[in-house]
């Protein structure tokens, strides 16, 4: 675990660059994480996903996978890959200030 400055806040992150404490997150931080990930600026569609991820994580204790996101928002799988390219579940979790979704192995 290390700490880093994001948008003027001191933030705890793990080795993969995921935030460890979702309570330290705020929308400014999301914007800066989006710049880092190369998906800025965040649109309303991004925010719909981020809001769901935050809400679902608070309820369930784990970040939602991409299938869960598409089932519970009106964002399609195709659009997820446009909004959060390559690994949409992982990237959406990162920008939402959540841990990496646990890949089942």
């Amino acid at each position: 675990m290390t700490t880093t400055m994001i948008a003027g806040h001191e933030i705890e992150i793990n080795d993969d660059g995921f935030m460890l404490n979702p309570d330290q997150w705020n929308p400014e931080i999301a914007n800066e994480l989006a710049v880092e990930a190369g998906i800025a600026p965040l649109t309303d569609r991004h925010w719909e996903v981020i809001d769901f991820c935050r809400r679902d994580n608070a309820e369930k204790g784990t970040p939602p996978g991409v299938r869960r996101i598409t089932k519970n928002t009106d964002v399609s799988m195709k659009e997820m890959y446009t909004l959060f390219p390559k690994g949409p579940g992982i990237l959406a979790a990162r920008v939402s200030g959540l841990t990496k979704p646990k890949g089942c192995i």
């Binding site: 299938r67 869960r68 195709k78 890959y81 390219p85 390559k86 646990k102 890949g103 089942c104 192995i105």
Partner: protein, 410 residues
């Protein structure tokens, strides 16, 4: 008379019925197990059918033969679970009431979830090997295969036995070499993961094996559709891979019963406490094996390790005692690597697969994360252990339900 009901007579359910029949007095507890058919499949054996190592008859036996005396076995579709009323409705309307329910309904492939997969080419140029029928059809196709591009794609996670797709490409490399067609065959492994496997050390070592065997890796490839006319798979972000022979690992989902009962997540897997195996929704409902939503492997070894914890917790809840949180996500999997060799991995929720020796620290005889002939014979011997020990709920000498760090090189 109290009633324990077990749904699913696969690896997990059968094993659990044997454990609980031994543990519970026959004059106090009636144990019933239900499955939709009487066909028990040794699932680790399916991998070998396409390569003619096993025949279908080697992996399928009657479930009834492995249900212990004193356990009632009902063959019937399960219509719906009504957990608020502690009862289950069977296909013919029969109601089964229970005091304790164990759900072991497993997971299944659902190729229809992917656009185009079951249209043109299904079982002529596109095959699965997660069903006996698919594995046999693929065997025939490989027999006729005369070179070209063989693509294996994992559609999405989670899947059963997450190492099986890698084993398939390793064995295909061996099989085609022996049959003289490897030099005119390109093998590609397409996965939604960012490497050969999910965990860093294993991913690096297995990725290296792919390179050595000249197998192409296409990471971060999430299959959106299959075009059987053009023989192309397309990812959600519009990348395409052409194929002559497609071996696909389709989307996995829990049993339809779970969906009908509204007890599952978006894939029909049941929210389960990761350490006690109690369902999150109902105190008298427990879940094991592939049916859980846990981030542990969907594999027989996991069901085996869970079984010990679950037996303990079922006895505890009967006695009104607190549940133990003993399950640590332990999995132990052989990886066939071709040419008579295999590797072995041993890991849990927190500790990734590491190199070392197993089960006796420093000695083995099995090697972790390294290829050896002994590992291969271990995998082959496992079929006997499965039918004769594991399904009977017996302890397997030297193998503990909790993972041990002894003998691992970190």
């Amino acid at each position: 008379m109290k009633k324990m009901l077990i749904l699913g007579a696969g690896t997990a359910g059968t094993m659990m019925s044997a454990k609980m029949r031994r543990a519970l007095p026959a004059d106090e507890w009636q144990i019933t197990i239900v499955d939709q058919d009487d066909r028990h499949i040794y699932q680790p054996g399916l991998l070998f059918i396409p390569f003619d190592v096993y025949r279908a008859r080697d992996v399928v036996k009657p479930r009834s033969r492995y249900i212990p005396p004193g356990v009632r076995f009902i063959v019937s579709p399960i219509d719906v679970i009504e957990p608020d009323d502690s009862r289950v409705r069977l296909g013919d309307g029969t109601l089964l009431h229970y005091d304790l329910l164990v759900i072991a309904t497993g997971s299944r492939i659902v190729p229809e979830e992917t656009e185009g997969m079951t249209d043109t080419g299904w079982q002529t140029s596109t095959f699965d090997f997660y069903t006996p029928e698919g594995a046999v059809a693929l065997r025939n196709a490989l027999d006729d295969f005369d070179g070209g591009r063989l693509v294996l794609n994992v559609v999405e996670m989670p899947i059963k036995c997450p190492i099986a797709p890698l084993e398939f490409v390793f064995l295909a490399d061996w099989f085609l070499t022996v049959n003289g067609t490897r030099d005119r065959t390109e093998i590609i492994y397409a996965t939604p993961l960012d490497g050969a496997f999910t965990k860093p050390r294993a991913s690096e070592i297995l990725g290296h094996m792919l390179e050595e065997k000249n197998i192409g890796l296409e990471p971060l490839f999430s299959t959106g559709s299959v075009d059987g006319e053009k023989q192309v798979i397309r990812s959600w972000d519009d990348r395409e891979i052409g194929y002559d022979l497609l071996v696909t690992i389709p989307t996995h989902m829990g049993s339809e019963t779970i969906e009908n009962s509204d007890m599952g997540d978006e894939l029909g897997f049941i929210p389960t406490h990761p350490n006690t195996l109690q369902s999150k929704g109902w105190e008298n409902v427990f879940v094991l094996g592939d049916a859980t939503d846990l981030p542990s492997s969907k594999a027989g070894s996991v069901a085996h390790f869970q079984g010990e914890v679950l037996e303990n917790n079922l006895l505890r809840i009967i006695d009104g005692r607190e549940l133990t949180e003993e399950f640590d996500g332990h999995a132990n999997c052989f990886i066939e690597t071709g040419f008579g060799k295999a590797a072995l991995i041993d890991f849990n929720y927190d500790v990734e697969p590491l190199p070392g020796r197993f089960p006796v620290p420093g000695i083995g005889p099995l090697r972790l994360l390294q290829e050896s002939e002994m590992n291969h014979w271990g995998k082959m011997a496992f079929r006997w252990i499965y039918w004769n020990m594991l399904l009977k709920g017996a302890e397997i000498p030297g193998i503990q339900s909790r993972m041990s760090m002894d003998g691992k090189w970190s």
